[in-house]
Symmetry: C2
Subunit: 203 residues, 2 copies
């Protein structure tokens, strides 16, 4: 089976690798269009758009006898999207250092939620099935001083991450506890994904 | 300040590195003597024995003008011990494949606890202070089939780990959720340690 991860995130690649799957990365160029407002629905919608866009590209490639995919082999496309929500407000990636400082100020000393939505497109014998789900993990931060926020932004780690922190990196020192799946906070709920792939008899 | 980690675990080294500390590893050769029975007390006691043994070695080294430590510089020794407890029974590292299979069978589809005890010896201007604490994290496993247990043991990952699994490796696929600090399950609660070191004005 050809497995395609529709994400450029090195963290998602690493997580998918722990499942021992051989996969290719094909990044979606889709313009994200959010019509949902609930965090869980937003990440599901975005994961669907990313995976759907890559699926369409692969189907076109097969028609045009492009080398991306032959159209015969079974195909699995995995799309994922992660956001942080605090008090019902959705935080994406920070747009500036000031924005990152603002976000970290909101998270400091409190609980927030991390949502990752995952869409699986499974194409087998001319038929495509879609399966979408999400996981939510609660995250508690220790209080952060202004000095700590400044230091953390100075490391550069917050800038490409939803909610302006990375739980697996230098940001780990601020995370008092989580409730839920850990890898979901990193960007891909591997245990849930593994269970879903087993249920689909893909693993 | 000279910082010494009294542990051979590569996972603890990696976690300590995320705190950005410069440290040396010196492994305790102490014969572990457990008189406690409660998991939290057991890990505290063992972390204290490991850190205490390394501290004694360093103090002797300073007396003998050994190069390990000059006796003048401030010194911080960090000892840690991790165990898994399920239904009040303590699981250490498995002694055989059969033992590992037994442990994983116990954990399958249920909740267990991971305890890490940490002892910090801070030696400054001829005075030594000891600070010991522990963190407990709840861990939920998805049900595992016999085939999955066999496969996992075949990977070799369970053999050197308390409870016969590694949450950061191939074992991650079986962990449905946790409640508490993640790195505590890996072997060293870095966020808690960071907070304690800040309170001690070491960081």
């Amino acid at each position: 089976m050809k497995i395609v991860l529709a994400s450029a995130s090195p963290r998602r690649r690493e997580l998918l690798t722990t499942l021992g799957l051989d996969y290719t990365v094909l990044v979606s160029g889709v313009e994200e269009q959010v019509t949902e407002t609930e965090p869980a629905k937003v990440v599901e919608q975005l994961s669907e758009q990313k995976a759907g866009d890559v699926l369409q590209r692969l189907l076109r490639a097969a028609e045009q006898e492009d080398l991306l995919w032959d159209g015969e082999e079974d195909l699995l496309v995995i799309g994922a999207d992660t956001i942080v929500a605090v008090d019902g407000q959705i935080l994406g990636k920070p747009t500036s250092s000031k924005h990152a400082a603002e976000m970290l100020g909101w998270l400091s000393g409190r609980r927030h939620q991390v949502y990752t939505g995952v869409t699986l497109y499974h194409h087998s014998r001319g038929k495509t099935c879609r399966h979408t789900f999400h996981e939510c993990t609660q995250v508690w931060f220790y209080p952060m001083t202004e000095e700590e926020i400044g230091w953390y932004i100075g490391t550069g780690e917050p800038m490409d991450k939803a909610g302006a922190y990375g739980i697996q990196g230098l940001g780990s020192r601020f995370v008092k506890a989580i409730e839920g799946e850990y890898s979901n906070v990193v960007g891909l709920p591997v245990a849930r994904l593994y269970q879903e792939l087993r249920a689909m008899e893909v693993m």
